[in-house]
């Protein structure tokens, strides 16, 4: 494989891996903060145990997000030096601001929260977890402002052979950020709620001795999940409508819409012939795509072939069509997983309201598996967003092929790619091991200490909690 292909793989692997951890951080930080707030106001020990239990899982997940995030800060320069030169004047700013405004807050206050239970007053200690939640979500905002520039470049001019910022306000109020940030923010809520529902379901199913704690967690997560899944669909829909305007090729690829149609049909299932850009077999609902795109029965949705012709006029000869099958399926997997999660959350809330959670073992064991759904949806959503923008790295301005570092050879990339993959694989094993272990252990004290071959002087009590 050539250096460009390897660099793309490396970016895909490291970034996808990083984003396994981010949504849970975004959503769970808020939920833990809410739990601790209830504890602060009521003094109910249940909420203290819940805060500590979910907080421990949060910290394990957070650590993985932080360390894989270091790679993100450096790899634009390492692997995409020509990209960094071309858009650094704009793209570097939100990254630096993210570090200054958000990374410092989340890392400093998480340290205070973890070690500060006995050292800080209750109010100040509560404030630290809210600041962690705030910092994490501000961090997401700034990195998405950077990503939004890649999707929809604004506030710049082409000068000195690069894109230079002319309007910072335009950059941070990019229309794209108003649909993208809410989508990521709410997907964080969804991820956290499914995570909490699944682990609570595990305990409720096994009737472990902390039923009260997990009933309460289940209730909170069910409400959180309904709020999250409904809003993620609403904002996702408006994001798609926005893309019809600014990245029509992305929507055309998502729908495998080869020709422009007015009104356009929506595909339920398409088997396509990608090289010839035509359907082999398709089931479609007439007019539905237009309705979804414009909230109206009239309006043209542009197709791949017409857009290709249009872009050749605009940008010169070249292939401007992203991988259609990948776009089509990742989009459907994301939406499908979202719908299933909404149904699960609604049913969970229904059981809570009917007080029937404990008597629904089959649903509870189903929820245990449903923890995979948010991860599938988050990953396929980003695959779609980034792959269906190709061949562009910055839409309309720079192609991915022109962005790669000329000095980094295929051999060097092979070394780093293998290194990252092996290291990340090992860390994933350790991470899942710990999460499963603590999730099973529950909110109480640790299981009675088995006298392992522990070093002398180890006082078991010290390590409890």
């Amino acid at each position: 494989m050539d250096a460009l292909t390897l660099a793309r793989w490396q970016f895909a692997i490291t970034t996808t891996y990083h984003f396994f951890f981010v949504p849970l951080t975004l959503g769970l930080s808020i939920l833990v903060a809410i739990m601790q707030t209830v504890y602060y106001r009521t003094g109910d020990e249940t909420y203290k145990r819940m805060t500590k239990f979910w907080g421990k899982l949060f910290v394990i997940n957070f650590a993985m997000g932080v360390v894989t995030g270091i790679v993100q800060e450096f790899q634009f320069g390492m692997n995409w030096s020509e990209y960094s030169r071309f858009v650094g004047d704009i793209f570097g700013a939100p990254l630096a601001i993210e570090a200054l405004m958000a990374f410092f807050i989340e890392s400093t206050f998480l340290g205070l929260w973890i070690f500060g239970w006995e050292k800080l007053s209750r109010g100040v200690h509560l404030a630290t977890i809210w600041l962690v939640a705030l910092g994490s979500n501000i961090s997401a905002l700034w990195i998405l402002i950077a990503n939004s520039f890649m999707q929809e470049p604004v506030g710049f001019t082409l000068r000195n052979g690069r894109a230079e910022m002319t309007d910072f306000l335009a950059l941070v109020t990019n229309p794209h950020i108003f649909v993208q940030f809410p989508h990521v923010f709410t997907s964080g809520i969804v991820t956290a709620s499914l995570f909490v529902l699944a682990i609570s379901a595990y305990h409720l199913l096994r009737k472990t001795d902390q039923l009260g704690d997990f009933r309460r967690s289940f209730q909170m997560a069910a409400i959180y999940g309904v709020i999250g899944t409904i809003s993620v669909m609403v904002v996702g829909h408006s994001q798609a409508q926005h893309l019809v305007e600014v990245q029509p090729m992305k929507i055309a690829a998502a729908e495998a819409l080869w020709q422009s149609e007015a009104p356009a049909a929506m595909s339920l299932l398409t088997i396509g012939n990608e090289p010839e850009r035509r359907d082999v077999f398709a089931i479609k609902v007439p007019g539905l795509l237009t309705v979804l795109a414009y909230n109206s029965f009239q309006g043209e949705v542009k197709g791949i072939r017409d857009l290709q012709a249009e872009y050749e006029q605009l940008y010169g000869p070249g292939d401007y069509v992203p991988p259609v099958a990948v776009s089509y399926w990742t989009f459907r997997i994301m939406v499908g997983a979202g719908i299933v999660m909404a149904l699960l959350a609604l049913y969970a809330l229904y059981l809570v309201l009917r007080d029937r959670v404990d008597r629904s073992p089959r649903f509870l064991s189903l929820l245990g598996w449903a923890v995979l759904l948010p991860y599938i949806a988050n990953t396929s959503g980003w695959f779609f967003t980034e792959i269906a923008r190709q061949p562009w790295i910055v839409f309309g301005l720079q192609k991915t092929a022109d962005a790669v570092s000329p000095t980094v050879t295929a051999g060097m990339l092979l070394f780093s790619l293998i290194g990252f993959t092996v290291l990340y694989g090992a860390l994933m094993a350790a991470d899942v091991y710990l999460l499963v272990k603590f999730a099973r252990q529950g909110t109480g004290s640790q299981a009675p200490a088995k006298p392992q071959t522990a070093p002398a002087g180890l006082a078991a009590g010290i390590y409890s909690k």
Binding site: T68, N79, S84, D89, L100, F415, P455, A456
Partner: protein
């Protein structure tokens, strides 16, 4: 005339200095972990001396990276792609280090703990060494062509001067860690830390002077700073000797301050001898990257200056407060549950 390019050069220098000052002892503690802590409880105590701080300290380098990207995109692009393999190693180290802090105590199995303790050691030692190598190369110059592209290989970066720079940062950080531990621990660990300062101190001092002598022959730092280099480089040597004297006198609070100042003044000296260049080309002086040809547009620099002016003081305030909250020594009687 001070312009925004100069201000951003200074700001990047400040971020690097902040990073080396804070993360310096932090790395040192990780490096000393296997040598000063003899059992699991002692290892926990040693790690907990930096437990609440290390993550916040590490953000300094992320912010420095972000600031270089925002203010000097060509510096960011050339340095990070040019130093590719060392950076990959650094990333591997930082990744296992960060995870080790959170994971090591979450399982009791001795193998599990031993693996993460060694990850913490390696994850601290490798970056401590590589930062010095990187600075040595920046000072000495690396092959940069007229297109701001690094045209050397991996082994160009492993020249004797840069490697000595690596040993320098490794030894200074280890010393700083030893002094820090002697201030933050009690009983046997403290005694061992004090003993370590007396062993590492002289080694570090010798390496510093070797580096200065070699630097005289291999870099243009001396010609640029002149025969009389001014107050700061001389002060850098002075405070280092003072640190040695205080260590000898076992007045470790003062030793910590002096060693910190030694790091600060040496970093300022390095940035002064670079100025206004950010990467020196060993092929042709005209091809060096400077704060002018590598920078962002004046508009971006202005925006970023306003942002920095607001947020840097806030960060300093709350990070300082963290150190105040956790100012006590960590010992057997401290809460070690984490």
């Amino acid at each position: 005339m001070i312009d925004l390019n100069i201000i951003w050069f200074i700001l990047v220098a400040v971020l690097f200095i902040g990073f080396f000052v804070l993360e310096g002892f932090d790395y040192g503690v990780g490096i000393l972990l296997p040598f000063l802590a003899k059992n699991d409880q002692e290892r926990r105590i040693v790690i907990n001396t930096i437990g609440p701080f290390w993550d916040g300290n590490e953000v300094w380098i992320l912010t420095a990276g972000g600031a270089i990207f925002a203010a000097f995109p060509h510096w960011y692009a050339t340095m990070f792609s040019g130093f590719y393999l060392p950076l990959v190693l650094m990333l591997f180290a930082l990744i296992v280090r960060g995870v080790a802090f959170e994971f090591r105590s979450k399982d009791r199995h001795p193998t599990w703990r031993s693996v993460w303790d060694w990850a913490l050691f390696a994850g601290s030692a490798v970056p401590a060494l590589l930062w010095g190598v990187a600075l040595g190369n920046l000072l000495r110059g690396v092959p940069i062509d007229q297109n701001m592209t690094y045209v050397g290989g991996f082994f160009n970066l492993l020249n004797p001067f840069a490697l000595l720079g690596g040993l320098l940062s490794l030894s200074i950080f280890t010393l700083q860690g030893a002094i820090f531990l002697s201030l933050k621990t009690e009983e046997q660990i403290m005694e061992r830390a004090v003993a370590a300062t007396k062993k590492v101190g002289p080694v570090a001092t010798v390496i510093v002077f070797l580096f200065v002598i070699l630097g005289y022959f291999l870099t243009d730092a001396f010609t640029r700073l002149g025969v009389n280099p001014g107050l700061i480089p001389i002060a850098a040597g002075g405070v280092l000797l003072a640190a040695g004297w205080f260590i000898h006198q076992s007045r470790l609070g003062w030793a910590f301050i002096m060693n910190t100042l030694a790091i600060v003044f040496s970093m300022i000296t390095i940035f002064m001898s670079l100025f206004p260049r950010v990467i020196v080309s060993s092929l042709n002086p005209d091809w060096s990257l400077t704060i002018y040809n590598a920078s962002s547009s004046p508009y971006t620099l202005k925006v970023m200056s306003i942002v920095a002016l607001i947020f840097v003081p806030i960060v300093l305030l709350y990070q300082g407060w963290t150190y105040w909250v956790f100012r006590e020594r960590v010992g057997r009687h401290s809460a070690l549950e984490y």
